[in-house]
Symmetry: C2
Subunit: 450 residues, 2 copies
Amino acid sequence: MLAPDQTRPAMRPYLAATQNFASGKNTPRQFLEESLALFEQWEPRIGAFVCTNLSAARAAAERSTERWRAGKPLSPIDGMPVGIKDIIETVDMPTEMGSPLFAGWHAQKDAASVRALRDAGAVIIGKTVTTEFAASHPRGTRNPWNTAHTPGGSSSGSAASVAVGIVSAALGTQVISSTVRPASYCGCVGFKPSVNAINREGSHDYQSQSCTGILGASLEDVWQVAHEIVARVGGDAGTPGLRGPDRLPAAKKPQCLAVLETPGWQSAATEGAKRSLNDCVARLKSAGVDICTRRNNSNVEALELDLVNATELSHQCNGWENRWFYRAMRDRDAGKLSRIFLERSEKYENLTLDQHRADLKERTRIRAVHADLADACDACITLAAPSAAPEGLGSTGNPEFGVPSSLLGVPSLSLPLFEDGGMPLGLQVIGFFDRDADACAISSWLMQAR
Amino acid sequence: MLAPDQTRPAMRPYLAATQNFASGKNTPRQFLEESLALFEQWEPRIGAFVCTNLSAARAAAERSTERWRAGKPLSPIDGMPVGIKDIIETVDMPTEMGSPLFAGWHAQKDAASVRALRDAGAVIIGKTVTTEFAASHPRGTRNPWNTAHTPGGSSSGSAASVAVGIVSAALGTQVISSTVRPASYCGCVGFKPSVNAINREGSHDYQSQSCTGILGASLEDVWQVAHEIVARVGGDAGTPGLRGPDRLPAAKKPQCLAVLETPGWQSAATEGAKRSLNDCVARLKSAGVDICTRRNNSNVEALELDLVNATELSHQCNGWENRWFYRAMRDRDAGKLSRIFLERSEKYENLTLDQHRADLKERTRIRAVHADLADACDACITLAAPSAAPEGLGSTGNPEFGVPSSLLGVPSLSLPLFEDGGMPLGLQVIGFFDRDADACAISSWLMQAR
């Protein structure tokens, strides 16, 4: 609950602030000091960070201030305070992966994405809390909108620290729902790009449908962070990486959007959440956007039918890919693993390579069903989560609405446009593979048309 | 030079030895003790290992002995002494990557391939010497056939330790020539599978054309090691992994083989090496195998032409992918990096993502030219190296003949069938993507038809 001395969480977009940097009316150093004041204020209540390196952050902000003053910023995000999910390696801080098995463990190098952020001038404040091995077991971070509620996961600390303005953006990852769900729960913008679009070297999320995601204070900020990383280190090795312009694509009104219910609509969505989406759809129709659904479009219907088993298929793909690692961690010290980790480890213990190959084929088939939709609509929309963040810190909440874009390997965004019972809730935009810029252009229009 | 007390290097195939394990006439523990005697004898002269864990190896061999006695081996390679290239993580030993920057560094976990080997019962003796970051700068390993000569690289210690029988197989990696070249120089079998065919999680060779390779004492051994790994941990996440039968595919006589010269034929191959290949081709013709070359087949000619720039294209692809890492290592301590590392780092410093995307497209185009050859022949053959191992430890030798299969992402094998000036030299078999089993079946026939 918000205590009387607490203010509402408020994000701090960075790109908008940089316009005063050249004149010296504001500086990256001042921007950082506000970050650190917010850190002092919020961190004891929300527990978003595993560790910080504030002296390095201050020194980086000083250098950035000099560059802006000289008219030579390294990039538009030069000086941006950022957080790094603690599943991603950093040369100056441990990478503990949310597990006591890696307490104090040092990679002795930056991940590709982290190195790119430094080269773009970003100011890295610290490592943000991840669930255990970026899976399901939460590690204590609280939702700043109501500290009795979960911030979501697995990018728990990234979402919470963005929501209160400590950082303007933070790196997350998503293999099931780990970027869009915490973004939705904490009321920030979440961007999960096309799979492989951001280089994951040095990020310990190796599953084939996992992806580095960005949580940020604005669409401009998340696009820019993703763009600056990819310009410097590309996508996963051998892939073309995120495609798109140097700045957030211009807002573009869609001709047609497909509304996806997904299995979560029946099983988990609250009345408030459904009303939010339904009202949004009504406004879109009034604005002249065509809407197709499972009821008037056979391609949408085909996809909806294929998504019925998407959660289990996703878990099985990940289950095979994690199986040996889970076994290895059990061997090291099962007593240091969560119950849910041990249960999942057992559940997928007997998967075979043949089964996995069949699962990959099935996933490829469903991806083609989704790709066919591009003839009918510009993007899909749905909820980013079935409700606002639920009460309790023992679970990171229902992940179902994150599954489709993860399974499909396509871009998705959570836009902080809804609320449910006084807490934030995201509208999710799901784009087409390798067309992340189009998804962002439509998202930009939706943010303006709110 | 071989001193009078030294014996010739002799490999120790493992699968052939296991037939006496059930009866107890031989045991994995006895097999290991012979390994360790060879280790005592050879290691001071060849420097193949960075570190060992012999007590763990003995304990593992004991357990394996029990399993064979009980008729319940975990796999056909249960008890096989193996070495792990020191670019690949191990939970019980440091992973130093051939660089003083990672001296004593611990991953605190096994790589996927290492965990799979343990689960298959293999006995891990130690970490084998790699060149600096699996690139070009050698780290002192000597060729057991003549200790004044290089063993090749980057999988230097893996090749040398297999050649003298300390291990029956060892893990290597190959992004340019790092498996087939040292196999050729040391006279062992080298198997570089289709790209992505063996799970690289925890192996620090992230480039898109890099691949885990196996160096072994026999074709049977290398196939089995690859197969057992993939059965347990698959290929790189999201790929089907190495395909093929549970045991080495039966020898198969090819109808037609394409002889590739590659640019190395003109620029680097010795007269002795050329004679070896030419004699082999003559024998194949006599045995009724059709031979096509650039002179009688336009598809072969097209590929030969595209291979002219293959080395530079490969280096550029790797150059972009390594660029940020090289820069990060320079920032840590340039004084701890080799001259060749620093030169390469500078050379590719200014590559852009657009240039890299163009390089990937060009690589894809050349791969299609190679794939078209499948209509004309069953496999390609060429030299595995332009000569036997050259004198000197300052360089790992000419890598050119390894480039084609690395650039093409297709399986290749070095078969110890030739010699050049009294030192071993490999015949290279280059197969088609995802048809590793066919390349091995043809290799098996070539080994028998020698």
